[in-house]
Amino acid sequence: MKEFDYAAPVNLTDAAVLLAQYGARALAGGTDIIVQIRENRRDAGLVVDLKNVAELNVLSFDAKKGLILGAAVPCYRVAEHPEIRKHYPGLVDAISIIGGVQIQSRASVGGNLCNASPAADSIPALIALVASAVIATASGKRETVPVENFCTGPGRSILGPGAVLVHLHLPPPAPNSGSAYLRFIPRNEMDIAVVGVGVALTLNDKRTACVSARIALGAVAPTPLFVPEAGAALAGSPLADADIERAAALAQAAAKPISDMRGSADYRKHLVGVLVKRALRIAIERAKGG
């Protein structure tokens, strides 16, 4: 690997100053950035280890305020948190399949977002769950950005020099809601998503119809893709087969996949339809209390 310096700040102010330096890179779990530096896909003159900054390690759920998920919190803490498992199952679906156990011990959800891979597993789930990203800019101001606007291109995000993702905020779950994330990979683990689908929906009190729904796709566009029209088509519907088919078709139409070694564009489009239907069915089951 090329040389770099290492710093481990203990507060956000110091972290911001370090990250504003030319060639500085944030390090949380390291499962992406270390590989990228090693393979000369990303440059780093200074690696800033954020794991000792307390504010970035907060993980707290409040039934009224929702979930604060610190940027440096590793996946395993999210997966093992009983309230998160109960209220945000789609998020748990997603982060439980990022790599394997070893990766989840280290990789952070915040890092998964900041790495901004179009195929990132957590991002479609976060989008479906109306997550927003709270950022500390270089000057110390706080900004809140809906996760669907966070990634700007493959590997690129809205984070400017010296900016730090502080935490993700997910709103408190409504009653009769359910979420799910499904991914298609050729093996059963360890693969990058060929297609990923995150869905979240809320049913009416009688659980006979959908009140609102959000569908987001991964690996079928330069960034994870929020498809508002697909979720909107479900709102007010009884979630019959025809409704689910329509939502899947809208999601397929919005998908703009490329052909690469992980899958052809046609195949990916096809999988969007399949996974949206399957994910919706799981989310519905969960919303009904199943």
């Binding site: 748990v92 093996r187 683990e189 399957r278 799981i282």
Partner: protein
């Protein structure tokens, strides 16, 4: 010791392997673990282009980097000229071997080694690579076998002329060689056929996938000798190759094999050893070079991608009457694909009166291929066993019955000439027929469905069972053959005063073989397996041993141990006779003891006599060197159940049974292990493993992320059924077992997929995208 039901005392038991404790505690020294004073670290600069001429190499900036001590190019390797040498497992073109270690004049694949740096740390060596300036003239490249065979294809080697049926044709071509096997009259044969099936198949390049990358540490001693530590399948082969590439006599080279982390055929040819030696010569210090995973994929020896066309015909009673095959194998950058073995194996399971096989060895701009477990046979079996399945379907004959009817037996002549001795194909078929897997309800039987649903229900996002109806399931079978090798082995064994025996043999141990060899010595002497201390010796410590490959070690090196034991027994008899003042003819050796035939009170156990050796003339050393001829080929029949997700094309292996004729299982656990490991490699080959090449002739997936080998979550238990048809050509009936397990899986899985969804897969791997494309095409049709 008790005699077992099989008549043996040690053979057939399952002792703990002698090197086991070191391996489960992390103490075993593999090549990359080598450490020594003053060690420098080497790294290789590799070609970024798939085909080109090297116009110049400027190392000046790299040499100036602090911490860099030497740089070598092909100038430091001897130019051997276009010479062929016999190096232990077939003939090798030394010019190609040398150029493959450090490119001379041209590069023929992306990743080919061009220069090497030795520095004080691996990171500095890597940094130095970036400072070496190589000027290439890029040439057009070709990475597909059929494209390479065309008259207008870019030629890799201007001086290469096709050799056809052993004769030069004068035609410049990427086709290095054309071979042919003929038996009977193929046209007449097809006339007798009631059913004929013909298909074309394509298989992608796949890699052996050993977890340990290549490594070599070399120390050029002040006296001009060189010591090399490396993970290799053949220390003596490394010695011979390095001798040629550095123009040194073998006596000035010592190769010390470290433990080896997998080989499967890919660690026989040298890549790093001569380069490390050259760097050590220049620096006067030991130099260690290791490959990284991308290097392993791009610049070692994967197995060929191929194009195969097969046509087979059977009469109305299901008797095969004719078989024809056209096989074109990608050799990679230099000639030498396993087209020969592939062509010899493709119909080897069957007794067919009329056969015609054409095989082509074709160079393409990919790394030069190496052996991969039954090299050439898996590609071939994918084609022929699929066709056989289709014949069975059209004739409405059970696929196992068809194979029994047509199966090769003692006396069957293969298309390439040899007549089979006693072999066990039919036995494996009959065992498969009676096996509970084959007899179980074919689709959706309660127990397999319950297990399948449990499997899918445990992961939060594999909740597919909640969201869709039952998926189609199917069963397939396939058989396979591999020759196995004999070749040469040596062993020496000395009796210790405590009754144990120290055994030195030269077969590097990839899978527990030192224990199987020790067990054969123990059986022969009538002592326990743990009373033998086996050691894998270096090239100065033990007599010549051919490579660990060809499924030969338990057979041939075991035989050497057996003969060394006979030598010990003879000497023990002589010694006892001396002690008892009788003649040797009056001493018997039975059950690990010596008995005086003329005085029944005179008995000594092996241990008791061992204690007396020092005082009666000194220790006893037995030795042997063998080149055994009685090799038995190996046959296997596999059964697989799959589930196909018809919405995604993903194939899941539900159940797998591998039935194999293993001759005599010396250590059944390690025989089972060979079968299970080979079958799983075959499963990976069948489902997801392939080299993806982009337009720039570069492998796009040179990483375990996207070169997808099966994980534990992708597989069920693999049931290995050992059928013992003892090989009459070996003192203990041993047959090589390691290679044939990789031959049937792709065909068996293809046949199971057909049984599930009615689609014949003609391309490997049968990845989800390919299966889905065929499913959608079928739906539209």
């Amino acid at each position: 010791m008790t005699t077992l039901a099989n008549g043996f005392k040690v053979i057939g038991t399952r002792p703990i392997r002698h090197d086991g404790v070191d391996k489960v505690t992390g103490r075993a020294i593999y090549g990359a673990d080598m450490q020594m004073a003053g060690l420098l670290h080497g790294r290789i600069l590799r070609s970024p282009i798939p085909h080109g001429i090297i116009k110049s190499i400027d190392v000046s900036k790299a040499l100036a980097l602090p911490g860099v001590e030497a740089i070598v190019t092909s100038a430091e390797l001897t130019d051997p000229g276009n010479r062929i040498a016999e190096l232990g497992e077939g003939a090798v073109n030394l010019k190609d071997l040398s150029s493959n270690c450090l490119a001379r004049g041209k590069v023929h694949y992306k990743g080919q080694a061009v220069a090497a740096v030795a520095a004080v740390s691996p990171n500095i060596a890597e940094e130095a690579l970036k400072l070496i300036v190589v000027d290439y003239q890029t040439l057009p490249h070709v990475t597909d076998v059929r494209a390479a065979m065309r008259d207008d294809a870019p030629l890799l080697h201007d001086d290469q002329v096709t050799e056809s049926l052993g004769q030069p044709t004068g035609k410049h071509s990427n086709i290095a060689k054309h071979i042919q096997f003929k038996k009977g009259d193929i046209d007449e044969g097809f006339k007798q056929a009631a059913v004929v099936v013909e298909r074309e198949f394509h298989t992608a390049t796949v890699h052996q996938g050993y977890i340990e990358p290549h490594n070599a540490t070399a120390l050029w001693n002040a006296d001009g000798t060189v010591t090399i530590w490396c993970s290799t399948q053949g220390a003596f082969s490394v010695r011979a190759q390095v001798a040629e590439l550095l123009a040194m006599p073998v006596s000035r080279i010592k190769v010390v094999p470290t433990e080896i982390g997998g080989g499967f055929g890919g660690k026989i040819r040298v890549y790093l050893e001569p380069v490390a030696a050259a760097l050590s010569k220049k620096t006067g210090k030991p130099v260690k070079i290791t490959m990284n995973r991308a290097d392993v994929f791009e610049a070692t020896g994967p197995t060929p991608g191929s194009y195969i066309k097969v046509k087979m015909g059977a009469d109305k009673d299901g008797k095969l009457v004719a078989a024809q095959a056209y096989l074109a194998y990608e050799a990679g950058a230099f000639p030498g694909s396993p087209i020969g073995p592939g062509a010899m194996c493709i119909f080897a399971c069957y007794d067919i009166p009329n056969v015609h096989i054409d095989g082509y060895d074709v160079v393409v701009n990919k790394p030069a291929t190496s052996a991969y477990r039954a090299p050439g046979a898996t590609n071939a079996a994918f084609a022929s066993e699929t066709i056989v399945d289709e014949l069975c379907e059209k004739l409405k004959i059970d696929p196992l019955d068809f194979r029994i009817k047509n199966g090769a037996r003692e006396g069957t002549r293969r298309a390439d000439g040899p007549i089979f001795p006693l072999v066990g194909l039919v036995e494996t078929l009959e065992v498969a027929k009676r096996h509970s897997h084959f007899l179980s309800e074919r689709q959706g039987d309660k127990e397999t469905r319950r297990q399948g649903d449990e499997k899918m229900g445990s992961s939060p996002c594999l909740l597919v069972s909640l969201s869709h109806p039952l998926l189609p399931r199917g069963r397939g079978v396939a058989s396979g053959f591999w020759f196995n090798c004999g070749l040469k082995s040596s062993a020496s064994a000395s009796v210790n005063s405590d009754g144990t025996v120290s055994l030195v043999e030269g077969s590097t141990d990839i899978g527990g073989s030192r224990t199987g060899i020790a067990m054969q010595l123990a059986e022969a002497l009538g002592i326990r397996a743990d009373e033998v201390r086996p050691v894998v010796g270096d090239t100065d410590a033990v007599g010549y041993c051919d490579v660990t490959g060809g499924s030969r070690v338990t057979f041939a090196t075991g035989w050497a141990a057996y003969e060394a034991a006979q030598d010990i027994k003879r000497q023990m008899i002589t010694r006892a006779a001396f002690i008892w003042s009788v003649t040797s003819e009056e001493v018997a050796y039975e059950n690990g003891s010596l008995r005086c035939l003329v005085d029944d009170t005179k008995r000594l156990t092996f241990k008791e006599l061992a204690e007396k050796l020092h005082a009666t003339g000194g220790t006893i050393v037995g030795r042997a060197s063998v080149d055994p001829q009685g090799v038995g080929g190996a046959f296997a029949t596999h059964i697989v159940d799959v589930e196909v997700d018809s919405d995604t094309g993903k194939v899941t292996i539900l159940r797998y049974t591998a039935v194999q004729d293993v001759g005599k299982a010396i250590h059944p656990s390690y025989v089972e292990g060979q079968i299970q490991g080979g079958a799983v490699q075959g499963i990976g080959w069948a489902l997801n493993e392939e080299y993806f090449y982009n337009d720039q002739g570069t492998m796009a997936n040179a990483s375990f992320l996207d070169y997808r080998m099966p994980t534990s979550l992708d597989l069920p238990m693999i049931e290995a059924v050992l059928v013992e048809v003892a090989n009459p050509g070996h003192p203990y009936g041993v047959r090589g077992v390691g290679e044939v397990p990789i031959v049937p899986p792709p065909a068996a899985i293809a046949n199971a997929i057909y049984n599930a969804i009615g689609i014949r897969m003609e391309e490997l791997p049968m990845s989800p995208g390919r299966v889905m494309a065929k499913l959608l095409a079928k739906k539209r049709a």
